[in-house]
Symmetry: C2
Subunit: 269 residues, 2 copies
């Protein structure tokens, strides 16, 4: 299905915003409060997805759990899984929900196991065994339940924990959860995916906030990669974004968390 | 409203089982698995409420959080609140949900903050300041949302964390949560409250499982207290139970977790 066909289909659908915030906001209580106040003001149907932050790493040290890495990438062993389940699904998730309730925003905290919202598949141990890490499939998302919530004005707040349906919880990348939920729900809604982070958006010069690129399409994206403008952590974010767009998501915005309401940032479509 | 009127009203309502399990089952993976298998087989609409267990105390020691007590009763200070939020709402709650999903039981883990299901009031600091402890009011329970879940065949699994609606999570007694939810929902359903624990029920002789008292009504309860048969931890459990019954709950069963399906235990009504 081409972009044009998708756009025609999207015309009559209700808008649904899927907003992802990273760990750096979660780590800063003042910034988090400010962000949640803005999120509460965002009009229309919406879903929040949050990353983990440094709380888990700090607690890991306190508990003497050794952080295992392969090729610089973290491994989720059994002890680490327990820890991230406690911190992401318990501490962070429930505090965000309580803060939103204070603002009058009726939210509900969810892992992917809850109501089987986001089942995932444990990643193959080859070539690298990342441990209890799961990759979700947009086709398996419990769309009807998530729709039931948003249409009853209850805002889902997802942490980055999923499950394999066989009794095991799995650590999952929060960007991937956002992409998965947005893609799954784009059949029914005009979905807009917001990746909120600590920069203004995609920058021509990573050290210069004024060098913001306001809009990128797939063709320009290929060029920017060739030119080396898009590099490091931005590559998987944009790869996921264009993947989401090709699967029906209307628009992806990459922006600073403080700009959620103005929408100023980089628009991908 | 007398017991007779309540019974007449209950005749046409659909049955809803509210099952509470204590920390001792949560602490034992094999017993927990066996219990969840039985719970899955329990027919009709149902809700699970779980206590905390020893995981929080163990982790508290590991993290060097000092357990504060007044008159032998634990105080929930800010650090302890973080810990129980992680362990109850994160680790235990999500693992129970994942285990139920494995059994094909579509469950959803909730704290009282989620969808504002169980708001509570922080307990007065006088005469004793218990810290971040909340007492819920059955009248404030979000009955419509809990009904929406159970009627969509999604089983709520509550941990013993609530919130004050002003951004603060509160540690709450799991027996009280069970009583509160059962009472709140008895307007709409014929509610049966199961308190599952490690004894056969109310015993004439606490050391003799054969001395089970099969049925107690309010009059007999008063006599048994006078005789000293009901003592210690059993007093608040039975007090809550008869309170629940006077507020519309059809029946309360106090029984060993292994007897959930046979129903063998003490019936209060």
């Amino acid at each position: 299905m081409g972009t044009k066909d998708v756009n025609i289909q999207n015309r009559d659908k209700e808008k649904l915003s899927i907003v992802k915030i990273g760990g750096n906001i979660v780590d800063n209580p003042e910034e988090l409060d400010k962000f949640l106040t803005d999120f509460n003001k965002l009009e229309g149907l919406k879903i929040l997805i949050h990353g983990g932050g440094k709380v888990a790493s700090k607690m890991s040290e306190q508990l003497g759990i050794e952080t295992k890495k392969v090729d610089g990438r973290r491994i989720t062993d059994a002890e680490t899984l327990k820890l991230v389940t406690m911190v992401y699904a318990g501490l962070i998730n429930k505090n965000i929900v309580a803060s939103l309730q204070k603002l009058g925003c009726n939210s509900i905290g969810l892992s992917g196991a809850d109501a089987n919202t986001i089942p995932s598949v444990r990643r193959s141990p080859k070539p690298v065994d990342f441990g209890f890490v799961g990759d979700p499939d947009p086709k398996k998302v419990n769309k009807s339940f998530i729709s039931l919530l948003v249409e009853n004005d209850i805002i889902p707040v997802f942490c980055a924990i999923t499950h394999d349906g066989d009794g095991t919880l799995l650590n999952t990348n929060a960007d991937t959860i956002a992409y998965t939920v947005a893609t799954a729900l784009s059949e029914k809604y005009k979905t807009v995916l917001y990746y909120c982070f600590e920069k203004e958006g995609v920058l021509m010069d990573v050290n210069d906030p004024v060098s913001l690129i306001e809009r990128i399409n797939l063709e320009e994206y290929d060029k920017l990669i060739q030119q080396g403008v898009i590099a490091d952590g931005m590559i998987p974010k944009l790869y996921n974004s264009f993947n989401a767009i090709s699967q029906g998501v209307s628009e992806v915005k990459i922006l600073h968390a403080k700009n959620l309401l103005t929408g100023r940032g980089t628009v991908l479509n």
